[in-house]
Symmetry: C2
Subunit: 106 residues, 2 copies
Amino acid sequence: MEAKKNTVEKICEMQTALDILGGKWTFLIIYALLDGKKRFKELERAVTGINTRMLVKELKNLEDHQILTRTAFATVPPTVEYSLTDKGRDLEATMKYLYKWTKDWM
Amino acid sequence: MEAKKNTVEKICEMQTALDILGGKWTFLIIYALLDGKKRFKELERAVTGINTRMLVKELKNLEDHQILTRTAFATVPPTVEYSLTDKGRDLEATMKYLYKWTKDWM
DNA sequence: TACAATAGTGTACCTACTTGCAAAAGTAAA
DNA sequence: TTTACTTTTGCAAGTAGGTACACTATTGTA
């Protein structure tokens, strides 16, 4: 009963994380940013299949949760850079193992 | 351009994995099974907040993709055990790092 | 003069995920 | 006799997540 209770608790904690990360595109966006900052259009090209609307929405979501930062430059046409915070970059291990699993099993 | 192309490819591959794993409850169910097989009701209690309908659906989904196996026993009342396959258990590292991140940042 | 480029916004729509509730079967225990 | 237990399924309904497409501003280039 002891170990079981711990599992339940852990699952509850993870639910809060997955509320943020569990979207259809969230992991992919973070993964795309692991190798450095990217501009909006670069992300749109990197994450195949996503549309503008969802990318905007997800970026806002991730910024709200301090997983990435947004930096806008007043150029013409405008330039905006997105890059992971420490919190975001700390998902690297998770992402790498997820990719490894994908390679091994899919 | 070279490294970038690789990222795009990796993201495409991961999309196929996330099509299976990306549900609201999927990760949590797998996490619950990491420490051994569980019966249906045990899972329902472990994954706080899930309802019967979704659990059935997700278990079927995961079984279809060989991430877990279902074993039914003709007892009364019926007993059904779910346990991870090798493919499923191989998500352990991913899950553990995800939990670690949760603990560190949430 | 027309077009391309960037980073979005506005509007409208849609469907698929998710939920709630009730019911089945058969035995054991109160 | 009634209730409880387990593993589902059926039905009906709701909501949020996701999609499509057009449009803005400003400058440089062909």
